[in-house]
């Protein structure tokens, strides 16, 4: 069973670079953004076309990027730098300027390196690490205002409050629709897979936002027609897996492909490149600071340190999503030199173990040389979960008898 709208989305993605080119010829500007706390609504409200720069999976570009940003920088950032060096990516080619945030220090370094070597105009939004302090929120509000001022300079127009309100409403609708769609992939007898939803989420990083909302609504309508009441059940006969850890951007489907190939079923994620940024974003005030603070108040990115394990919102959210998706195990994906996530791998494993949820860390990069090694480990993990599930079922039967 296939969702027809997904075909439309794929087609529109193919057409998008040409469309951006024409838009630029008509005087529109394209902003490439990189980060976790970039308030995209502000970019959109100023009349820019936002596209997210998130590419992965190409070890050749990683090598190219290493010439500029060193081989010790995380794989994802190296590939981004490599992509700017080669300037062959159709979306990167269309960017007029870039917006980065300083959530992850390596992200920030990438902004500096791209600015220096490739002479790109870069606007950077500072992000506080003590993000739960009131003083940090004040600092971030100032940063959001400064970020807006720099964008206004480039737009040669001030930010209009009503336009911002419209953008916020549009993005809120997108987030709401995405959340509704996301439930379907985790449901029993699902008519859409997590992989398809993941691609759909990432399509939104590139497509026109208004059109994207319409495509999402069409997708949701199709799903509702095919499956009126999606129910998420834990014992559906699959190894229900959750993906956490470092982002998995467009172009990188190595791990996802392996999980599928060994019979694992992904039912949820808390990836920076997945559903997580779309959750819990509650904009209380229509202003640059109001929008930015709503971003900061979401589940924090792992690059922002938090010193009390018991009240960590990131771990709390992970537990919540695991419970909602009824996942039986977590595959924790860490990219080479992605410190925000690698430093927390063992801790996350220990925390989840207390709830009886197994975690497998897969540490990888974009080369294909570790494919078989990863496959063996994932296959064993999937098998372990199946056996565990069968034992639990048998124990349940015996208890009933």
């Amino acid at each position: 069973m296939s969702i027809k709208t997904l075909e439309k989305v794929r087609k529109r993605l193919e057409e998008r670079p040409e469309e951006l080119k024409r838009a630029r010829e008509d005087g529109r500007k394209v902003v490439g953004w990189v980060g976790y706390n970039v308030p995209e609504e502000i970019i959109h409200a100023l009349g820019f076309i936002p596209v997210r720069i998130a590419v992965g999976g190409d070890d050749r570009l990683v090598e190219v990027g290493a010439r500029y940003a060193s081989s010790k920088t995380c794989v994802f950032i190296r590939e981004i730098v490599g992509a700017f060096a080669e300037n062959q990516d159709p979306f990167i080619q269309q960017t007029d300027f870039l917006a980065f945030d300083a959530t992850c220090l390596q992200n920030y370094r990438a902004a500096e390196v791209i600015e220096y070597f490739f002479k790109k105009d870069v606007v950077v939004l500072g992000v506080p690490r003590n993000f739960d302090w009131d003083e940090a929120k004040q600092y971030f509000a100032h940063e959001a205002n400064e970020f807006t001022r720099l964008l206004e300079e480039r737009a040669e127009a001030p930010l209009d409050a009503s336009r911002l309100a419209e953008s916020v409403a549009l993005y809120n609708d997108i987030r709401k629709t995405l959340k509704s769609i996301y439930v379907f992939q985790a449901a029993k007898d699902n008519v859409i897979s997590w992989e398809e939803v993941y691609d759909l989420i990432q399509a939104g990083e590139l497509l026109d936002k208004q059109e994207y909302l319409s495509l999402l609504q069409q997708t949701l309508a199709e799903l509702q027609e095919l499956q009126q009441n999606p129910v998420i059940e834990g014992d559906d006969g699959n190894s229900r897996l959750f993906i956490s850890g470092s982002l998995i951007p467009r172009g990188d489907r190595k791990l996802i492909g392996i999980i599928k190939s060994v019979g694992g079923r992904i039912v949820g994620d808390d990836l920076w490149s997945g559903i997580l940024p779309h959750l819990d974003l509650d904009i209380k005030e229509i202003s640059p600071a109001g929008v930015a603070l709503a971003y900061l108040n979401r589940t924090p990115h792992a690059a922002l340190p938090y010193l009390d394990l018991a009240s960590d919102k990131r771990l709390k959210k992970l537990h919540e999503l695991l419970s909602e998706s009824k996942a039986q195990g977590v595959i924790y994906h860490t990219l080479r030199y992605c410190d925000p996530f690698t430093f927390k791998a063992k801790e996350t494993k220990n925390v989840l173990a207390k709830s009886g949820i197994p975690l497998l860390e897969i540490h990888t990069e974009y080369a294909g040389s570790d494919y078989e090694a990863m496959k063996t480990r994932v296959e064993a993990f999937v098998e372990m979960i199946k056996i565990k599930s069968e034992i639990t079922e048998e124990e349940g039967v015996l208890a009933d008898a």
Binding site: R67, Y68, A69, S70, S71, K72, T73, C74, I77, A102, C104, L105, Q106, Y108, R109, A110, E112, V113, E115, Y116, F117, V124, G126, P128, R129, N130, W133, E135, A136, Q138, Y139, H142, E143, E146, A303, P305, Y306, L307, D308, L309, R336, Y337, D339, P340, T342, F343, K344, A345, K346, E347, N350, V351
Partner: protein, 461 residues
């Protein structure tokens, strides 16, 4: 065959005994006689590795026996671990901090601030009788614990391996995070899952991107410093006033001024007045934190300046320095090259950007001390944009009359590694001086392949 140990010659004793005492924070004093005894009797017994005649010892004392302050920094280094233990026994509070930051707020709050290298030194000194290899193996073993609990890709581990194992009595982990390093903030966070729950954790959040030009960034960082001092006070039980902070600024400004003057004096000499190791150890005194005792550092620094001035006046060349050595400037965090082996190859290290950046940053003494500290800290040249940092570095390179520049980053140090190439590119373009980028293993002995690259560079120069 037994290991050959270096011994200070009795020929220099008389001159050394004429030098000054060292005065410590607690008012205690150690005389040159006591120092001489330690360096010739107690020290070699406790720490034979430090006296080992071994090519692979990168940071060994200089062996310049005619420079009394060289012996004194050696003494302060060797007694570091014992002094920290005694300080703890007396109830003194100790904080883990970041390298590359000044320690004025910690001094104000009556807390000893130790950067990662010093924490490792404290741990290293707890076990006696080790040769170089044994001491290094012990350090590596301890580091493995941190790698296991965090990430094997970590460069900095926030002292996790020592604090969480209960080896060191550190009260609070409170570095300026993100300043020049990202690993340390993850290292601080990692302590939250360790078994030691009584260690306080605090992030002093250093904002990024044109931070020194933004009033709100300065105010935010000042607020971080206020909260830092509040946290340190919770440990000590005292109340640190703004006046205490101002006094600490004045004290540290004195160190920074003296350190800067000493370095400039050294640079002004026609022939290098000391070798690489002595230059580094004396200039490092300027930040006053290097030996875990600001007064001790200050007293040696004052004396060192007099000795260096005398050597420059008389055209005295440093110990083991060849005629017309190639002058090398080192860039990067927590790094260095093997001074003595590089000298053997015909070079001398004439400067570093790390530690020097904040030594040259004087803090305004009038007005809100937290605001002043915040402003100066956000202006550290090392922490500015690529272009700005490179241009400040070029100024230092020119002042030091360097012939070559090496940017070194440790394995896993993505923050510095990422900007190594653009920075050396600018330096090369604007000065024409040869440069190269070098990767180092933090905490390793100075490996042959690393030195081989350095020597090839020196030969090329």
């Amino acid at each position: 065959m037994g290991t050959q140990l270096f011994r200070y010659s009795e020929d220099n004793k008389e001159k050394f005994l004429e030098s000054d005492n060292i005065t410590f924070n607690d008012g205690s004093v150690v005389t040159p006689e006591e120092i001489w005894h330690y360096l010739t009797v107690e020290g070699p017994e406790k720490y034979p590795g430090s006296f080992e005649v071994n090519l692979y010892q990168g940071n060994r004392a200089s062996r310049d026996e005619t420079l009394p302050t060289s012996l004194k920094t050696h003494y302060l280094g060797l007694t570091f671990s014992d002094r920290m233990e005694k300080a703890k026994d007396r109830g003194k509070s100790i904080a883990f901090i970041q390298g590359g930051q000044a320690v004025d707020p910690y001094t104000a709050a009556d807390t000893i601030a130790l950067r990662p290298g010093l924490v490792n030194q404290w741990y290293g000194g707890l076990e006696h009788g080790n040769d170089i290899n044994k001491a290094n193996l012990r350090r590596r073993k301890s580091k493995e614990k941190a790698f296991h609990d965090m990430s094997f890709e970590a460069c900095q581990t926030g002292g996790y391996e020592h604090v969480q194992e209960g080896d060191l009595r550190i009260d609070v982990i409170a570095p300026y995070t993100v300043l020049r390093c990202s690993d340390v903030s993850y290292g601080v966070e990692a302590h939250r899952h360790g078994p030691k729950k009584d260690v306080k954790l605090f992030n002093v959040d250093y904002p990024l991107r044109y931070q020194a030009d933004k009033p709100w960034a300065i105010e935010y960082f000042a607020q971080n410093l206020r909260r830092l001092v509040g946290t340190l006070d919770e440990v000590t039980g005292r109340v640190t006033t703004e006046e205490d902070v101002t006094k600490a600024i004045q004290l540290h400004n004195e160190g920074r001024r003296l350190g800067t003057e000493l370095a400039e004096l050294w640079w002004s000499a026609d022939v290098p007045p000391t070798n690489s190791a002595d230059r580094a150890s004396l200039v490092a005194l300027g930040n006053l934190e290097v030996h875990g005792d600001v007064q001790a550092s200050l007293s040696v620094l004052k004396e060192a300046k007099k000795f260096i001035a005398e050597r420059v006046r008389n055209g005295v060349k440093g110990h083991a320095v060849i005629d017309n050595p190639k002058r090398i400037f080192i860039l990067g965090s927590c790094v260095g090259i093997n001074g003595s082996r590089s000298e053997d190859a015909g070079a001398i290290v004439v400067g570093r950007d790390d530690q020097w950046s904040h030594c040259t940053s004087l803090v305004e003494e009038e007005g809100d001390p937290y605001y002043n500290l915040a402003k100066t800290t956000l202006e550290y040249p090392y922490e500015q944009s690529i272009e700005k940092r490179a241009h400040w570095t070029i100024e230092q390179i020119r002042k030091s009359r360097a012939d070559g520049v090496i940017f070194i980053h440790n394995w896993g140090c993505n923050t510095q590694a990422a900007v190594a190439r653009p920075i050396v590119d600018i330096i090369k373009r604007e000065t024409g001086i040869p440069t190269y980028i070098h990767e180092l293993e933090l905490g390793g002995l100075q490996h042959e392949q690393e030195q081989n690259r350095v020597n090839a560079f020196i030969e090329m120069l």
